[in-house]
Amino acid sequence: MGRNFPPDLLHSRKLIPCAGHCKYAPAKSVANSKLASQTRHFAPDVPMSYSLITAVHAGGKSADQPTLFAFSPRTWPTANREQPRPNGVAGAGYPLPGATPETMAAAEGPRFMTRMTGAQMVLDSLQREGVDTIFGYPGGVVLPLYDTLPQFPGIRHILVRHEQAAAHMADGYARASGRMGTCLGTSGPGATNLVTGICTSWMDSTPVFALTGNVARSLLGKDGFQEADITGITHSITKHNYLVMRPEEIPLSIREAAHICRTGRPGPVLVDIPKDVFQETAEYDWPEQINLRGYKPTVEGHSGMIRRAAELIDQAERPIIIAGHGVIWSDAQAALLELAERAGIPVITTFLGIGAFPESHPLSYGWLGMHGMFYANQAADKADLIIGVGMRFDDRAMGRFSAFNPGVKIVHIDIDPAEIGKNFPVAVPIVGSAANVLPRLAEQVKEAKHQPWIRWIDQCREEHPSLHIRESRRMLPQFVVRTLYEETNGDANIVTGVGQHQMWAGQHISTSALASSSVPAGSGRWGSNSQAPSARRSLAPMPRHGPSAETAASR
């Protein structure tokens, strides 16, 4: 740890033990508590990074050595606070309901009074949010950030050649790992080059954290060199974005942004930081809890709605499940399998839902849509009940809305209430996570088989086998795709761009391999396929679906 810090930072560190008289002493209400008696507090007078404090902390665990704690005066709900803070944020404002100083101390653990530059705060905050890889491209206003990067050996920076690659790699990283992908670009053209990748992430609901620099605060709005109103530009393609005007707000902004990014329906967020905010030193106040009044995703489905849905499923003669991307993001594949098997319901997926249901299963009938299987399209069109899970009934999947299966009843399960009823009227809406709703639905439905309906779909599949690759002396792309799949034993992680090859890959590569893939579907971004694999392989492989991320194709 020590060798990665600049020498002057280590050697100039001074810790002044204080006997309880300095302003960093805990409030009187806890001065006599057990916790207070075990601590001594220090008043550091140089900036220290969190990593350094951790190293010191780890070394002082024995009883006779005081652990390095320092309570920020802002932890306590005292009236004589120096600066008013936004409402609802523990540690920096009013206490949460039911909080007492003791409970807050116990819940939050040690608080460190440190002063850091904005750049250090950014990297420390990202590190606390679990970010271990940043895809980026340097530029003028993010120089302070790049200057600070070596101080954080836990964060690996991948240098790209164009910011679009950074955004697409962050997207690919998110799809491969299930975690938040992070990309970084400078101001102006650097930020605008991220836009397409952010839009891809927006359309396909993947958690991407975009960090951009901006010109100094004094130049904002004055058409400075390489200035762009990136928060305005990405307003409609991010779940939320931030322009951080004070370094003290960096930890809160990043914590909130990461929370918004990953929870509910995942989606991109952007944090824009002016150059001088990176450079300014301020107190680092990491909010242990955040409270976003206007953002409370509903995870638990309404039990009354689930009961109604179960009734409809029991009554249906030709039910079908359409599983989408949301099943994969909420890891609800097992629950989906349970529901389908119990109620005997055939399952088709959307293009992004490939991998939500094992293709080898007898109830699996491929995917529907513009280039989906003939029999899957027919099944969707002739069903009397559609259970849509984690999908959005978009035009590519459903065809012309007005001509789609008149009279069908739809049960729509989605974590985003905005999708429910957007394109089709829904008989039973269930807002919640697939992982929460599907098991509860599975235990309420009656066991059934629906044999005549399944026989009908099987018959359709026999008459219209959409996946047959004809014999030809030409090198057919379908043949190449199929050979790729077979030669890699179905183990390869496949990433595609957009276009014909994407469709052929979707058709001829079996579920488990494509499930670990990145297929930019919603925004149709071409050319991004070369970027995502770099992201996928660079991370310590964490297989989300399919046999393995350490595949034949990545050896």
Partner: protein
């Protein structure tokens, strides 16, 4: 658009296998123009660089696959190769994706591959 990122593969030592389905066209757009715009192909035929030479310029091994017989062995070679590798498959230029639901059509109007295409 993005082939310069091959440099990242080299920088980071990432063993990614790139498979290019090279038909010399912007395929999906060409398909639509062929089917729905009376075979009026506009701005879809594209000169392709020699991808093998391009990969070589980045220090990546490249293999051009020109016949159907070479496909399997090329993929096996790519699997065995440590490090990044590029495969340039010279696929059939006129092949279309089927089944298809034309834009504006219903799912019940899914079209399957026409007989003359199946005969090619």
């Amino acid at each position: 658009m993005t082939l310069q990122e091959m440099a990242v593969l080299v920088d980071e030592g990432l063993p990614v296998k790139i498979a290019i389905f090279n038909n010399g066209y912007l395929g999906m757009v060409r398909q639509w123009q062929q089917l729905f715009y009376d075979k009026n192909l506009v701005s879809v035929a594209m000169t392709q660089p020699d991808f093998v030479k391009l990969a070589d310029a980045y220090g990546i091994r490249g293999i051009r696959v020109e016949t159907k017989a070479e496909v399997a062995s090329a993929i096996r070679e790519a699997r065995a190769h440590k490090g990044p590798i590029l495969l340039d498959f010279q696929i059939d230029q006129e092949e279309n994706v089927w089944p298809m639901v034309p834009a504006g059509a219903a799912l019940s109007e899914t079209i399957e591959a026409p007989a003359e295409e199946l005969a090619r």
